[in-house]
């Protein structure tokens, strides 16, 4: 398996029908519109974007919870889709935004943790204990918490339980959809640090989805910026912040609250709201909100082109500038 990327997403599209009253023609909007990227083992990739940009749908496609309309997702060379076999399920796991919704309120902690093992291989209790107990200790839980129910734990604790549960099957890729958005700020750092610690211990790859740039900054090695179903920029964390290219990315970074009032912030004010209607017009999806839109932007969708090693941008303005420089 050497040389093969852990995850390869190729030109994936996912569309949903828009229901209209009297019209019989089906109209669609693309939640994920021609997305391609790769991940290596042990890598940590963050996907950032506003709500409605398709990041959650993309995560669900990769997790095998939805079926892509077009395109291919390969994990270690095997196809990922909604009806894939149990075996494949072991390697890709996911944790959600709302920890309490992610666990069955009527199941005790032991039941919750044991469920993946039981579904996969109908393991005996003694065997399951061998796997679960060490993980339990790493997370800071004691044996008597095993008989407790979800409502007896705090949000942060439940999220840790969910992380624990997802690790029970020793996955290679963990998708985290807004893992800390519903937690208190003080707990957020705890969870993120826990995730980082686990990554180095277990050579896990992470795909972290968030709308919060500071979360993405904290945990990612590489960042993908999405807008209305498309990737607009992707780079290593360092490059993205040091050499921001796409106007949308600039606006996102500028919006990060700065705790130091003495530092002046360059305000890149983003006007308007992302709306699906933009998909029905030709040209760049960002045209309505971009200060630097030009005639080409209204006409043609920009391609993802490299601006540096490992740094890609989809923006006519950037590409025109780059050509001028060369």
């Amino acid at each position: 398996m050497s040389g093969q990327p852990l995850l390869e997403v190729s030109h994936v599209k996912k569309r949903f029908p828009i229901k209209r009253g009297f019209s019989t023609k089906s109209r669609f909007f693309y939640a994920v519109d021609d997305v391609s990227f790769r991940m290596e083992e042990g890598e940590s990739v963050g996907i950032i974007g506003e709500s409605g940009c398709g990041k959650t749908t993309l995560a669900r496609l990769i997790a095998g919870l939805e079926q892509a309309t077009e395109g291919e997702i390969l994990f270690h060379g095997s196809s990922v889709h909604a009806k894939m076999g149990r075996d494949m399920r072991k390697s890709i796991q996911m944790i959600y935004q709302d920890p309490y919704a992610s666990v069955d309120p009527r199941m005790d902690l032991w039941g919750i943790l044991e469920e993946p093992l039981r579904i996969q291989s109908n393991m005996k209790r003694s065997q399951a204990e061998k796997i679960i107990m060490p993980l339990l200790e790493t997370m800071g839980f004691t044996e008597d918490s095993l008989s407790k129910y979800p409502h007896e734990f705090s949000g942060g604790q439940i999220q840790r339980i969910c992380i624990l549960r997802s690790l029970v099957l020793s996955p290679k890729l963990l998708i985290c959809d807004e893992p800390v958005s519903s937690l208190d700020v003080s707990i957020q750092a705890q969870i993120l640090n826990l995730l980082k610690k686990l990554q180095s211990e277990k050579s896990l790859a992470y795909l972290v989805i968030s709308h919060d740039m500071s979360v993405i900054h904290h945990i990612s090695d590489r960042i993908i910026v999405m807008y209305l179903g498309q990737i607009v920029e992707t780079a290593t964390k360092h490059d993205l912040f040091a050499n921001t290219q796409h106007p949308y990315t600039k606006a996102l970074i500028a919006a990060i609250p700065n705790a130091d009032p003495a530092k002046k912030q360059k305000k890149a004010i983003l006007s308007g709201e992302a709306s699906r209607a933009a998909q029905e017009k030709p040209g760049c999806l960002f045209q309505d909100r971009c200060e630097r839109a030009c005639a080409l932007c209204y006409d043609q969708r920009p391609d993802m082109l490299p601006v540096n090693t490992g740094h890609y941008v989809a923006c006519h303005d950037v590409q025109t500038m780059a050509r001028k420089d060369s």
Partner: protein, 291 residues
């Protein structure tokens, strides 16, 4: 011991739980006595004693050995009421149980699998709701013959759709929940999910609906027996007793009224217990069953 009970009762009253406790106890007492009837009051239901016919009850004639009098064939009304309650409850509960099983099964399948299964089940529910329950009972009594079996079948056919509809609604809601999705991530099949998660989480709703429907079943059985299309002699039912008592309404009114009161009492208790159970759960249920 009494010193411990009284404060406990007062606390329950404050919590509003005293009434439901009394209600539950009285209902269980009735059920216990009714089902123990052959042990407590062993009689031959077919035996008549014409010499004692139409004796007065004790509240009319204080010398009477019969608490509630006797009927036109000389049989002790009180004992017959106890046996009739037994039959009515046994039939209603059996019917209710099987309709719960059928309703939950079809509702869960429809909700979980969707597609054709859902279309078929919803269509069947619609068909069933287009027919009055009494008509189902009448047709069944006419074709397969009246009796316990036809009533149980009538109850099953009448009540499964309400349960199925509610189960289906709950399952569809649950299907969206994140923990069910998590189970899919581990590779759980629909069957796994139904048994491990769905059944537990719909249990309370189903129990409430079952209890509330039980009252309806008791009434359905009585109505059918009243028309002679239900329980057949030598077994007796409260409905039969009311019907038989109709001819004597003008003089021995207790023959019809006493069994009527028992029907009302049973139905009332079950309804109130069901209402209390439902109020204890979330208010969402009010809209789920449209009551």
């Amino acid at each position: 011991m009494f010193n411990a009970i009284i404060p406990k009762l007062c606390r329950l009253r404050k919590e509003g739980k005293l009434s439901i406790l009394l209600l539950a106890i009285s209902f269980l007492a009735i059920v216990a006595i009714a089902f123990a009837a052959p042990l407590l009051f062993p009689i031959d239901l077919a035996k008549v004693s014409l010499g004692d016919r139409l004796a007065n009850p004790r509240f009319v004639d204080s010398d009477s050995p019969y608490l509630l009098g006797t009927d036109s064939l000389g049989r002790d009304i009180l004992i017959r009421i106890i046996y009739a309650t037994r039959t009515s409850l046994a039939i209603s509960m059996t019917g209710m149980f099987f309709s719960l099983v059928l309703g939950v099964f079809l509702g869960a399948v429809a909700g979980m699998f969707g597609g054709i299964a859902d279309i078929v089940v919803m269509f069947l529910i619609e068909c069933r709701q287009a027919i009055p329950m009494m008509l189902i009972g009448i047709v069944l009594a006419s074709t397969i013959g009246p009796g316990s079996f036809s009533i149980i079948l009538t109850i099953i056919i009448s009540c499964w759709s309400g349960i199925a509809r509610i189960t289906r609604g709950q399952v569809i809601q649950l299907r969206q929940s994140k923990y069910i999705e998590s189970s899919r991530l581990f590779g759980a099949s629909n069957i796994d999910i139904i048994f491990k998660h769905v059944l537990k989480n719909i249990a309370s709703v189903v129990i409430v609906e079952g209890t509330l429907s039980l009252a309806g079943c008791i009434l359905l059985e009585s109505s059918l027996s009243f028309l002679g299309l239900g329980i057949q002699p030598p077994l007796t039912s409260l409905g039969i007793m009311v019907n038989n008592g109709r001819d004597y309404l003008i003089s021995q009114w207790w023959l019809a009224i006493m069994p009527s009161l028992v029907i009302v009492l049973l139905s009332l208790q079950v309804s109130l217990i069901g209402d209390w159970l439902r109020d204890r759960m979330d208010p969402k249920l009010r809209h789920a069953s449209g009551r």
